[in-house]
């Protein structure tokens, strides 16, 4: 099986035992204060599952939040003692001596609200009914996630993140942190992201949602009560999503027109790519929740900070005072480099401290999860700079100047 990334499926990441955070523990923080959501509804209480790696320093100045993308979780690095094969989805990025070095930084991974890996979501029990929320769990937005993450930061005693970092949908969260919590973030790393979804992006999400919602086992989202799961829908949703994470070039290199056995004039999987997609779809249907998938794709569709400023992205980004690192990948057609350049252009218009790296990589959108020497070197250099700044006690003199302007 080709070694595709964790988040998009494929072979699981293999832990680099010498430079891994090692066995980690998933924790849960419970919040009793109600959270008002963008949709108008309120979550009276909720849980957030999270993991931490490294040590928070005495000044509480070395904390880095890692935000996850569509179907990943708070399990960013390391593995579980009772499940050593379950390696975190960004283990190549986060760990001792890695680009985000846990010998220096206190790294926090958090499972987003509405997800299905321990934080409150459609699979959680609704205290009012004693049954899973299922279809009644509210629709959530990127802003809701970030608000909840801010509550977790409070709980952990982190007034200001040294950095918030994420790829894809995770990058959107980092961007939202920069916009709406400018005093709580010194750096944002916005990787393989976009300022909003294009019509084509939304179209792909809608196909995925339709696949799930038209599955006879969906039961308007209350499939749990019927003791079934819309597996066919989830499979197709995953297959279509997966294609958009890869590049044509990479699919050709990995699969081309290879056949498993030969042409049999049947609809059984004959080409390797068919077999691969079916495998990915099966696996996804095993571990993912359909109501969660519907909600997270909607959160993606809704994200558009510029709408708050009449479509002016520069104005929307104006509140950001942190330093920003924007990274895109040349073969990413899901969130192409041109979308990252829109973010950069808007930040430059407001004279914000921003750097932009356009990484030559053949892997499409997936590249943000994979090893790439230039990509990892740039991220490492960025975190080196932050650490150097912290040591001299004057982390970002130029960013601060800009903030006062």
């Amino acid at each position: 099986m080709p070694s595709f990334s964790a988040t998009t499926g494929g072979a699981a990441p293999v832990a680099d035992v010498d430079r891994s955070v090692g066995p980690v523990v998933s924790r849960t923080a419970h919040f009793d204060a109600p959270l008002v959501l963008a949709c108008g509804r309120t979550l009276p209480q909720y849980d957030l599952a999270y993991e931490t790696y490294g040590e928070l320093d005495a000044a509480r100045s070395n904390a880095v939040l890692v935000c996850h993308a569509l179907n990943a979780s708070h399990h960013v690095a390391g593995w579980y003692a009772d499940d050593p094969g379950n390696v975190g989805w960004w283990d190549n990025m986060v760990g001792p001596g890695k680009p985000l070095d846990t010998d220096r930084y206190f790294v926090v991974g958090v499972n987003n609200l509405g997800s299905c890996f321990g934080s409150s979501g459609p699979l959680s029990i609704d205290p009012k009914t004693g049954a899973p929320f299922g279809s009644t769990f509210p629709l959530i937005t990127v802003e809701d996630w970030v608000d909840a993450q801010a509550q977790l930061a409070d709980r952990l005693g982190i007034a200001q993140w040294a950095a918030v970092m994420g790829g894809s949908l995770g990058g959107m969260q980092a961007l939202d942190w920069a916009i709406r919590y400018p005093s709580r973030i010194r750096n944002a790393l916005v990787i393989a992201a976009a300022p909003n979804l294009s019509a084509e992006n939304i179209a792909f999400n809608e196909i995925a949602r339709q696949a799930i919602m038209t599955d006879p086992d969906f039961h308007d989202g209350n499939f749990e009560a019927h003791g079934v799961k819309p597996r066919r829908g989830l499979r197709v949703a995953r297959m279509i999503g997966h294609i958009t994470y890869l590049s044509d070039e990479q699919m050709d290199a990995k699969f081309g027109r290879q056949l498993r056995e030969g042409i049999n004039f049947s609809f059984a999987p004959e080409f390797q790519i068919e077999s691969y997609l079916r495998y990915q779809g099966e696996k996804f249907a095993d571990y993912y929740d359909a109501n969660t998938y519907l909600r997270i794709t909607k959160a993606l569709d809704y994200f558009d900070p510029a709408t708050r400023e009449g479509g002016d992205l520069a104005l929307a980004l104006a509140p950001a005072t942190c330093k920003l690192l924007v990274i895109s990948f040349t073969t990413d057609w899901r969130f192409p480099a041109s979308r990252s350049r829109e973010i950069v252009k808007a930040l430059v218009r407001k004279q914000r401290d921003v750097s932009y790296a356009e990484i030559a990589a053949p892997h499409g959108h997936d590249a943000f999860l994979l090893d790439n020497p230039q990509y990892h070197a740039v991220v490492r250099a960025w975190f080196d700079r932050i650490a150097t700044g912290m040591r001299v006690g004057d982390p970002l003199p130029r960013a601060n100047e800009q903030a006062q302007r």
């Binding site: 950069v344 430059v348 218009r349 401290d353």
Partner: protein
């Protein structure tokens, strides 16, 4: 576009530093490792961005704490608004670019002033080597003809004419030899030309 690494190592910095006002907003095209921006941030409290196409330059600029944007100058500067900068710099990169007219026009669109430096092809040692029938190789043009990044070499007189023909006004011009300004016969004696001009 990586600064083409011509031999007169950064002799232009001091002159550029004198021409950049305190706290100026600067854009450095082909910023390489960001050394000029670092120099200007330190000496003139300048703020701004570097543009660099080369991976190694982008990485070095990030290491140096410089705002660097990875982009191909040949595609223009459409990421920047008109008059967004006080000064747009092109340090020892001009001669390696394909579309000189386009980039100079873009510099004067996004900046109030432009500063351009380039190795002077008119230096006597280059003329002598051409007279002898060989392409010049020197401290300011250290490349052999077959592996040079320099595709648009010009003389001080050429660039004077280029700016005059387009009506661009030269605000300052310094020609250096061995790091020192040349007063007499600059097109013959100068190794490195530094121009400040505007529309």
């Amino acid at each position: 576009m990586s600064a083409a690494g011509n031999g007169v190592a950064r002799a232009d910095y001091a002159t550029i530093g004198r021409w950049v006002a305190d706290g100026a907003r600067v854009l450095d095209l082909g910023c390489g490792d960001g050394a000029l921006l670092q120099f200007l941030a330190r000496e003139r409290r300048a703020i701004g961005y570097g543009i660099e196409i080369d991976d190694a330059g982008v990485l070095a600029s990030v290491r140096n704490g410089v705002n660097v944007l990875q982009s191909d100058l040949e595609r223009g500067l459409n990421g920047f608004d008109d008059a967004a900068f006080d000064v747009v710099l092109l340090s020892q990169t001009l001669q390696a670019m394909r579309r000189i007219e386009a980039i100079v026009a873009e510099m004067l669109r996004v900046g109030r002033e432009a500063i351009v430096t380039f190795p002077n092809f008119g230096h006597w040692s280059h003329r002598l080597q051409v007279l002898r029938g060989r392409m010049p190789v020197s401290s300011s043009l250290p490349y052999q003809w077959y592996d040079t990044p320099n595709i648009h070499l010009c003389t001080v007189a050429d660039f004077d004419a280029f700016l005059a023909e387009r009506g661009h006004r030269v605000l300052d011009r310094v020609v250096l030899s061995g790091g020192r300004p040349v007063a007499f016969a600059p097109n013959l004696m100068g190794e490195l030309a530094i121009y400040r001009f505007h529309r």
